[in-house]
């Protein structure tokens, strides 16, 4: 059996690791999204949901470690790939033209990635490493009704959506799934997924900013 | 010199078997003591390199492109013949042999052609095993088509890219041996000369096309698989790099040249449309299955084809050859197109084209059927000319395509220099005076996969296996000569570009030694060639130096050899006063203006031996005897 080490040394292996970790992170994002959607039901429901999560205790801890590992794998692998790709073409073209599937999403993957890292750190500082006794609804409302932070969230979440618009399709190709029958669905599905994620997440800071009743 | 073809005795069908048994063998442990140089990496060169390396010989393979996957075999579209008889339509080894020797107008050696037909089946097996994706039927069996007027379906094909797929198969076998360390692959190397020591080929001198370094390479035997010389005409369907240099250098070192005037001119090519034109593109012969060849009846008629009424159209092939019509063989179709243009009935901006009209077929079968059959060819035509043959007739004109002549070889494929073997288009052996469609690929692979591996052993067994190196004085001498020639070229610093002079030579050859030849024209050419050569050596402009990548210098070296070689072609054409196959001497025609063969006086191979730069080459005859087929006059009426 081939070792993980040699898999990781290969370009295809690294891409598949990006794909697999990306897929799991996307699934996490989806659950996060569902959780956040509870906020639209009102502050009580949202607080209750947060309480329920906290009550899981050790399980949350395990989950967080797993998530952190996934993020680290995705980030470190991404950085290695980015550096290798830069090195693969030391002299650039004087005219650059895209005629294939190159999109805003694909072309900005490393940059949106960096934005997302910064965002996650800020996000964790604000909502994770904080006083857990404050009801979550108040925390959200309190922080995201501040325009600068809300704006930062909105921009960062747009980056997340852009990142997903390529990643959510690309991961299938990287693990070897490409079929004429499903390609159209996958491409559109990835786009829809990124729009959905972007819209729902962004709705929260927007509502916190403009709504008089959101989470109050 | 006595030319010994070394054709083994016995019945035709047993000759190859007997010969293989008679060939001396080299024991496997000793094979690794022998070094073999292969020049060229097209079908013949790549297949030979791979097969010889598999046997255990140490092979060094050279090509002038950046990669051995680019030999011009790659451009062959149609297919490859084999006598598999998978279609149960009456094919056999003997029939393939007969068709090939008749197609060559009875100017090839019976024994060679029969062997070619015999090994044709092994080639298909070998290629399939390598993963060549031949076309297949629904049930998974190999598909065949009939090609080039053959009455049986014996042609195997991979879309319109058969040459490419076969070459990539041979290339992959070659690269496998590179991995094993049995082949050293040297790309971007141009062979400048062959080194002959004590009458035996012992190595070559090459130029590294990147650094300009002159390099010497020693071996126990040298195999040339350097293709044809069609580019002597400047314009041809050959690749830009195809050249006669390797063969010509070998000739000047003592290898005899056979039938240099036998040049196949393919009738369906895209016409020339400007002086800047660098090459001609072939359109598959299959187009004549449904296209009707025509010109306007009145010379000088310049109306667009759609405005020429039916009664003013001259379907000259159908009128002249009622039974074969548009499907007459390549040489006949080509000559007739030239004849029409000579009468001023040619079309297009240059007047050097005829129409190939599909409208009747489109009306009969519907545009869908025609698109399905020829869509990719029409697409290719449209890419080049911006005209769509579905809406207006194609314009076609003959173009130089393949050279049947080449270095003379015996049944072992060895030239008159012991230890120098010649394979594929570079030799003269199998196609006589005219090559049939889908048999060039067959010959290249037959020579490389299934002939040379046996016959080279027979030679090597007769020489010492002591290690060869390039320290012998002869290597230095030949390398110095090659370097001196390059220096001389660079010192000219004249005014004309290499291409200008090459174009001039090409036009002269096309006019006087092309589709139709006559005494006066050939004599005139013979007088003019030295003048062009003189102009070249006085006035060619080659910028840059010899110690770098210098494409002008590369071309100049090749054109210098073409300028010498052209003279030999003309001499050969003059000496063969009969018409046969591609070689049409206007003095020798029937009352209906067809080629008239003269078996009594010309049933031979014309073999030329170099005799010094200032002397005429010495002429030798290899008589051709036909014990198994009866030479007949071709008729397509």
């Amino acid at each position: 059996m081939g070792s993980i080490g040699s898999l990781y040394r290969s370009s295809v292996g690294k891409k598949s690791i990006m794909a697999a970790s990306g897929l799991l992170l996307s699934l996490f994002l989806l659950t996060h999204l569902l959780g956040n959607s509870v906020s639209f039901l009102g502050r009580d429901a949202f607080n209750a949901y947060a309480e329920k999560l906290h009550s899981l205790g050790g399980l949350v801890y395990v989950f967080e470690i797993g998530l952190l590992t996934l993020f680290l794998i995705h980030i470190i692998t991404g950085i290695i790939l980015y550096v290798e790709n830069l090195q693969a073409r030391p002299a650039r073209y004087s005219v650059n033209t895209a005629e294939g599937g190159r999109s805003w999403g694909s072309r900005t993957m490393p940059y949106t990635g960096v934005i997302i890292i910064v965002f996650i750190i800020v996000h964790l500082l604000n909502f994770h490493f904080t006083d857990k006794s404050v009801p979550v609804a108040d925390l959200v409302r309190g922080l995201l009704s501040r325009p600068p932070l809300a704006l930062f969230y909105i921009v960062s979440l747009l980056a997340v959506a852009l990142h997903l618009s390529h990643g959510a399709w690309s991961l299938f190709q990287s693990i070897g799934f490409n079929h004429d029958k499903y390609n159209g669905v996958l491409l559109k599905g990835a786009l829809a997924f990124s729009i959905l994620v972007g819209t729902v997440f962004i709705l929260i800071p927007v509502l916190a900013l403009v709504s008089r009743s959101f989470l109050l | 010199m006595i030319l010994d073809s070394k054709v083994p005795g016995g019945p035709l069908a047993e000759k190859w078997d007997r010969h293989r048994f008679a060939c001396k063998l080299i024991n496997p442990a000793n094979k690794r003591k022998f070094d073999i140089i292969v020049v060229g990496a097209g079908l013949a060169g790549a297949s030979a390199s791979a097969s010889l390396a598999e046997l255990g010989y140490n092979v060094k393979t050279f090509c002038l492109q950046d990669s051995p996957r680019r030999g011009h075999s790659i451009a062959a579209q149609g297919g490859i013949n084999a006598a598999k008889n998978y279609q149960n339509d009456g094919d056999s080894i003997f029939r393939l042999f007969y068709d090939t020797i008749k197609g060559g107008d009875f100017r090839a050696r019976e024994a060679n052609v029969y062997r070619l037909a015999q090994v044709s089946n092994n080639i298909i097996d070998q290629c399939v095993a390598q993963g060549v994706p031949f076309a297949r039927e629904y049930g998974g069996q190999l598909a065949n088509r009939s090609f080039g007027g053959a009455q049986v379906s014996r042609t195997f094909y991979a879309r319109g890219q058969t040459g490419q797929q076969l070459l990539l198969g041979a290339y992959s076998a070659l690269m496998r041996q590179v991995k094993k360390g049995k082949v050293e692959m040297l790309s971007r190397r141009e062979m400048l000369d062959v080194v002959v020591i004590d009458g035996q080929a012992r190595g070559i001198v090459t130029r590294n096309m990147l650094s300009g370094a002159i390099e010497t390479h020693a071996a126990h035997a040298v195999v040339l698989a350097t293709g044809g010389y069609g580019n002597v005409y400047f314009l041809s369907t050959n690749a830009m790099g195809s050249n006669v240099t390797a063969a010509w250098r070998a000739y000047k070192r003592g290898a005899c040249f056979a039938n240099p005037c036998f040049v196949q001119i393919h009738p369906t090519c895209i016409p020339v449309h400007g002086t800047y034109q660098s090459k001609l593109t072939l359109m598959s012969e299959s187009l004549r299955n449904d296209g009707r060849v025509l010109v306007p009846k009145n010379p000088g008629d310049r109306r667009p084809p759609a405005e020429i009424p039916e009664n003013e159209r001259d379907y000259y092939l159908e009128n002249k050859y009622p039974s074969f019509g548009n499907l007459v063989p390549r040489d006949v179709a080509s000559r007739n197109a030239k004849e029409q243009c000579d009468q001023g009935k040619g079309v297009g901006s240059t007047g050097l084209a005829v129409y190939l009209d599909f409208s009747e077929a489109i009306n009969r079968d519907g545009s869908g059927v025609i698109t399905q059959k020829y869509g990719n060819l029409f697409h290719m035509y449209e890419k080049i000319t911006a005209a769509n043959p579905m809406h207006e007739p194609m314009m076609i004109f003959p173009a130089v395509h393949y050279t049947m002549g080449g270095l003379w070889v015996d049944y072992n494929l060895m030239s008159t220099i012991p230890g120098l073997f010649v394979l594929g288009e570079a030799n003269f052996s199998d196609h006589g005076a005219n090559r049939l469609g889908a048999s060039a690929l067959m010959q290249g692979l037959a020579d490389g996969y299934f002939v040379i591996p046996y016959t080279i052993g027979n030679y090597l067994a007769t020489i010492s296996s002591s290690p060869q190196d390039a320290s012998h004085q002869a290597f230095k001498q030949v390398a110095d000569e090659a370097a001196a020639k390059i220096g001389k070229l660079l010192d000219i610093k004249g005014k004309k570009t290499v291409d200008e002079i090459h174009r001039e030579l090409g036009l002269l050859m096309w006019d006087s030694c092309g589709m139709a030849r006559n005494e006066a024209g050939l004599q005139q050419a013979l007088a003019k060639i030295p003048a062009i050569r003189e102009e070249f050596w006085q006035n060619v402009a080659i910028p840059g130096s010899g110690l770098e990548l210098n494409q002008s210098l590369e071309r100049a070296g090749r054109v210098a050899d073409f300028l010498e070689f052209a003279e030999l072609m003309v001499i050969d054409a003059l000496s063969r006063k009969e018409s046969c196959g591609c070689h049409f001497r206007e003095e020798s025609q029937t009352e209906e203006n067809e080629a008239k063969r003269d078996d009594e006086n010309y049933a031979h191979v014309s073999v030329w031996e170099y005799n010094g730069d200032n002397n005429s080459p010495e002429f030798h005859k290899e008589p051709l005897t036909f014990e198994n087929v009866q030479p007949s006059q071709r008729s397509y009426k």
Partner: protein, 253 residues
């Protein structure tokens, strides 16, 4: 037929280690019936006449099959026409007054030899690593002994149509050679003759690709758009499958 005039900005570089630059030339009158390479021929004839060194560029068959030609024209490998090699690109696709920036294929693994000529021997090295079926001459079974479904043969042919020009590498934002490797791995894994070595082949070819310094595929789909033979990135997905299967499940390493 009509003539157009173009401004040509061509990459000139004397040798692998020399600095390069874009040099501007007026094309002079160019017939729209010319191919792109004939346009360069015309320029070179003029430069030679003026005692200047002509532009070095690789080319051979000039009918779109040998794979030797190629340059990047205004950012497009082989120029802007789809499924067309540079030698088959005709000047009628350009307009009078256009400016064409002509650059060599760029990648760390493709060293520039001179002007537009690059070293693509890396492509050969990847084939050498495993792009073959290990069968010696002679002893092959009858060609019809193993039936191959027409669909598989056709799909294999789609992949085998690769001409090895390197445009996929030139087009890839990461200078990755995945489409090239994928085409060969697909061709041979779709045919029964290629099956015995399919795991070994995928591992070896990918390893060689990585060692040669080509970049990583990031699924930008620029390669298939630039490919003159229209080879699909479905083949890359197949390579990914073949590789992962081999790396995770097979005994090969």
């Amino acid at each position: 037929m009509s003539d157009i005039h173009l401004t040509l900005k061509i990459w000139r570089q004397e040798g692998p280690d020399a600095p390069g630059r874009l040099q501007t030339y007026a094309s002079g009158p160019i017939s729209t019936d010319m191919s792109f390479l004939e346009m360069l021929d015309v320029l070179n004839e003029r430069l030679t006449g003026e005692g200047e060194e002509p532009v070095a560029f690789d080319h051979d068959c000039r009918e779109g099959i040998c794979g030797m030609c190629g340059a990047v024209v205004n950012g497009h490998p082989h120029g802007p026409e789809k499924e067309t090699t540079l030698c088959q690109l005709h000047m009628r696709h350009f307009k009078d007054g256009d400016t064409l920036v002509i650059e060599p294929f760029r990648a760390r693994a493709f060293r520039i030899e001179k002007d537009l000529v690059v070293d693509r021997s890396g492509l050969d090295k990847m084939i050498t690593a495993g792009g073959f079926v290990s069968v010696n001459t002679g002893g092959a079974p009858d060609a019809n002994a193993i039936p191959i479904p027409q669909k598989n043969a056709e799909e294999a042919m789609d992949a085998a149509a690769c001409i090895g020009c390197g445009a996929c590498v030139a087009a890839c934002p990461n200078a990755s050679a995945m489409l090239f490797v994928a085409a060969k791995v697909s061709h041979l894994s779709l045919l029964p003759q290629g099956h015995p070595e399919r795991a070994r082949r995928a591992l070896d070819m990918v390893r060689e690709m990585d060692e040669l310094g080509f970049g990583n595929c990031s699924n930008e789909r620029e390669c298939e758009a630039a490919c003159p033979k229209g080879i699909s990135i479905r083949n890359i997905a197949r390579l990914n499958r073949e590789f992962l299967k081999a790396a995770i499940l097979s005994d090969e390493d």
